[in-house]
Structures are given as structure tokens and as C-alpha cells.
């Protein structure tokens, strides 16, 4: 039996989290290779639609990373994210998908180490949760 290797999407905002990911890479911090980073202009441009689509197509976990509240390049972009994703988590819970498969966090451009811990923790959490049950369900 092979070990379960989760597939994880991370939506990173261009101005903070993506730069944070860059810093983590440049500093050669070790991270699990399960994460696919998708660069977006702002965490608010990640509509919950994309997250729902990813999860229902069988992705094991989705990370949404943005700037800290107050540091948004577009002033109130991440306020919107902060309101949307807790609700999206509740909706996932209502249809029976574990809400821990979706995580929202703030990583600034200077926090390469935080990026590493967020990724490592999330991957180990998803490993504990097991594969996405929707991977087996064919609609």
C-alpha cells in the first residue's frame, strides 16, 4: 500500500503571499511538494466557485492565502475574502465535506517561514483527513 499523497491547491495573492512563497523558496525552506500554487491578483479574486469546483473534482484541500487585514494592495479586498470563506466552509459542512479541507490564512511578503509552517501544517492535516471522498464519486 502506497502512502497517501494529497493534491493541494494554494491560491496566493500576487502582492503578499506569492512574494512570501518566493521568499520561502529563495531561503531554501523545506516544504512538502504536494502544493500547487496558483497566483491571483488579490485573494478577493478567488471566488468560492473555484474552490467548490476544485473540491468537487477531487482536489484534497484548498488553501487561500492573502495579505494581512489592512495591508491589502486594493484596500478592502481581503475584507471580502475574510467574510466569504468562513461561509463557504459552513456550506461545505452542510453538504457533508469536512470544512478543514478549505483553509484561509494571511501571509505577508516578509513571512517566508510562516508560509512554510502553513503549508506543512495543512499538508499533514489533509494527510490525517484522508483522500477527498468526492474523488470516488463520479457524477
Amino acid at each position: 500500500m502506497t502512502e497517501f499523497n494529497p493534491t493541494i491547491l494554494a491560491f496566493c495573492c500576487n502582492w503578499c503571499s506569492y512574494a512570501g512563497a518566493d521568499l520561502a523558496g529563495v531561503s531554501r525552506l523545506q516544504m512538502p511538494p504536494n502544493v500547487h500554487v496558483i497566483r491571483v491578483m488579490c485573494s478577493a479574486s478567488v471566488k468560492p466557485e473555484y474552490v467548490f469546483k476544485a473540491l468537487s473534482e477531487g482536489i484534497d484541500g484548498v488553501l487561500v492565502l492573502g495579505c494581512h487585514i489592512g495591508d491589502c494592495h486594493y484596500l478592502t479586498g481581503n475584507h471580502r475574502t475574510a467574510k466569504r470563506f468562513p461561509l463557504a466552509q459552513k456550506i461545505l459542512n452542510d453538504v457533508g465535506i469536512d470544512e478543514r479541507r478549505l483553509k484561509l490564512d494571511w501571509v505577508s511578503a516578509a513571512e517566508g517561514e510562516k508560509f512554510q509552517t502553513v503549508i506543512t501544517d495543512f499538508v499533514s492535516q489533509i494527510k490525517q483527513l484522508g483522500p477527498n471522498p468526492l474523488r470516488e464519486v463520479r457524477f
Binding site: K47, P48, E49, F52, K53, L55, S56, E57, I69, T76, H79, R80, A82, K83, R84, P86, L87, A88, K90, I91, L92, N93, D94, V95, G96, I97, D98, P133, L134, V137, F139
Partner: protein, 267 residues
């Protein structure tokens, strides 16, 4: 013209001085919405079955530039009108509401918690059902069982878009992401879980729990139960109840509660 029709036309055109009246009437043994002006015959008016007239109103509203429209509104219609006026789609001054209290049979059918409108003109108010039995049952289940239940239900979906077409508060026509072929592919029937998740998210700050989606669904998917669950979450998290005439949806405000500019019509 039956007695209810006579009473309604008198009330709408003489007492309330409206120019048009929107009702449900019997046509060839079936229920159909009717939009009539002053001198037309209203026909056999019936209100013993649930029918969402605001859906019809919001579709024809852009084509009627002037005049007051009288609409027979139940509690849910009233909330839908509030929600649409708040988002700038309807003009409150041009709409006259004739309050209709649902009878016991209709309230049972919708599992309605509060069928009494703010102003009762027709009918006797009855007590509602405080808790949806299906929601209570689903919330007791474990996550796996709940997912199994919903997957079984959503497999019946044949992507007829009846739930969006009949929804009174689904206002962004031709712009909805559910019409996007990259999200919901043309071939996919059933359309998958994402379709229903996206719809519940869109409805989270608008749904007024009329249950029209559930009645329109040819597969009998209990969509109203899902809406109610999301509604309860919304209430718990942001203390927001859709259909309130004043408070702006929390998804359109900043964390401090300030309204973001020009964002009222965003889904």
C-alpha cells in the same frame, strides 16, 4: 370572474389606485400568472396553491416603464420585494402590496415557519411550523452520511435550471457563473456537486425561503432544506437575515460594516 377576483380588482384599482394587477388564475384547469390592466377581466383567481409572483414581476418589470403595479404578496413575496428593492432592481414606490395570509395547507407544503405578512388583506393567518423536520434530521447525521445523502439527491439533477429560472431573487440574468461552460460543462448531466454548492453560496445572502426551487425541481431534490441550513449559518455568523429592508448583506461590506461602493447588484 369569481368572488375573490371581484374583491381583488376592487381593492387594487379603486382603493389602492394601481394601474396593473398581478395575480394567479386558473386557465384550462391549470394555474398561471396573469398581468392585467384596469378594464380587463381577471378570471378565476385562485390562491390555494403556492406560486411565486415576484419571479414574474421581476422579469416583466423592465418592460413596464410607468404605472403602479399591484401584486398579491405572501410573506415570502414581501421579503423578496424587500430584497430586490434594497438591491435597486425594483422601485418601491411603483409597487403596491396586497397582503395574503397563506392557508394551513399551503403553509404545510412549504414547511413555512411564519406565513403571516405584515399587512393582511385576504385570508386568515395560521401558525407556521417552527422547525423543518428534514433539516433537524440532516444536522444529526455524521459528515459521511450527510454527503452520501446529498450525493444521492444531487445525482437526480438533470440541469434543467428550473431552480434558477423560478427563483424570485436570482436577478443576474445572462451573467451568472452557472451559465459559464468552464464551470458547468455542456455535456455534464448531472452537473456535479459544484453546481449546487455555487448556487447555495449565491443564495446565502438573498434566499427568502419561498421554496420555489424545490417545487420547480423535477427530481424532487430537497433544495429548501439546503437553503435553510445555509440560512441558519448566515444568521449565526453575521446575524443577517435576507429580506430585511435596511441591512446590507455582510458579503458586500467591509469588516467594519461599511458598504463597498457600487456593489449592490453583485451576485
Amino acid at each position: 370572474m369569481n368572488d375573490l377576483g371581484k374583491k381583488l380588482t376592487k381593492m387594487a384599482f379603486e382603493d389602492l389606485k394601481a394601474d396593473y394587477l398581478l395575480v394567479v388564475r386558473q386557465e384550462h384547469g391549470d394555474l398561471a400568472p396573469a398581468f392585467i390592466s384596469k378594464d380587463e377581466d381577471v378570471g378565476e383567481v385562485r390562491f390555494d396553491a403556492p406560486y411565486q409572483l415576484v419571479t414574474v414581476l421581476s422579469r416583466i418589470y423592465p418592460h413596464i416603464p410607468t404605472g403602479k403595479i399591484a401584486i398579491v404578496s405572501r410573506k415570502c413575496d414581501e421579503l423578496a420585494i424587500n430584497e430586490l428593492t434594497k438591491r435597486g432592481i425594483l422601485d418601491e414606490k411603483r409597487i403596491v402590496k396586497i397582503g395574503l395570509a397563506c392557508d394551513g395547507h399551503t403553509a404545510d407544503k412549504c414547511r413555512c415557519p411564519d406565513p403571516k405578512p405584515s399587512k393582511v388583506d385576504i385570508g386568515e393567518p395560521v401558525k407556521g411550523i417552527p422547525e423543518d423536520p428534514l433539516v433537524a434530521k440532516l444536522m444529526k447525521m455524521t459528515l459521511e452520511d450527510r454527503l452520501k445523502y446529498w450525493v444521492r439527491q444531487f445525482k437526480k439533477c438533470n440541469k434543467c435550471f428550473g431552480c434558477t429560472a423560478n427563483c424570485p431573487v436570482c436577478f443576474c440574468e445572462n451573467q451568472c457563473v452557472l451559465g459559464e461552460r468552464t464551470l458547468v460543462s455542456e455535456k455534464s448531466i448531472p452537473p456535479g456537486l459544484a453546481f449546487h454548492l455555487v448556487r447555495s453560496f449565491h443564495m446565502s445572502d438573498k434566499c427568502i425561503e419561498c421554496g420555489e426551487c424545490e417545487r420547480a425541481c423535477p427530481g424532487d431534490i430537497p433544495l429548501l432544506a439546503l437553503r435553510r441550513m445555509v440560512h441558519a449559518d448566515m444568521k449565526e455568523m453575521y446575524k443577517f437575515v435576507p429580506g430585511d429592508p435596511k441591512t446590507v448583506s455582510p458579503l458586500l461590506t467591509t469588516l467594519e460594516g461599511e458598504v463597498m461602493e457600487d456593489e449592490h447588484n453583485v451576485c
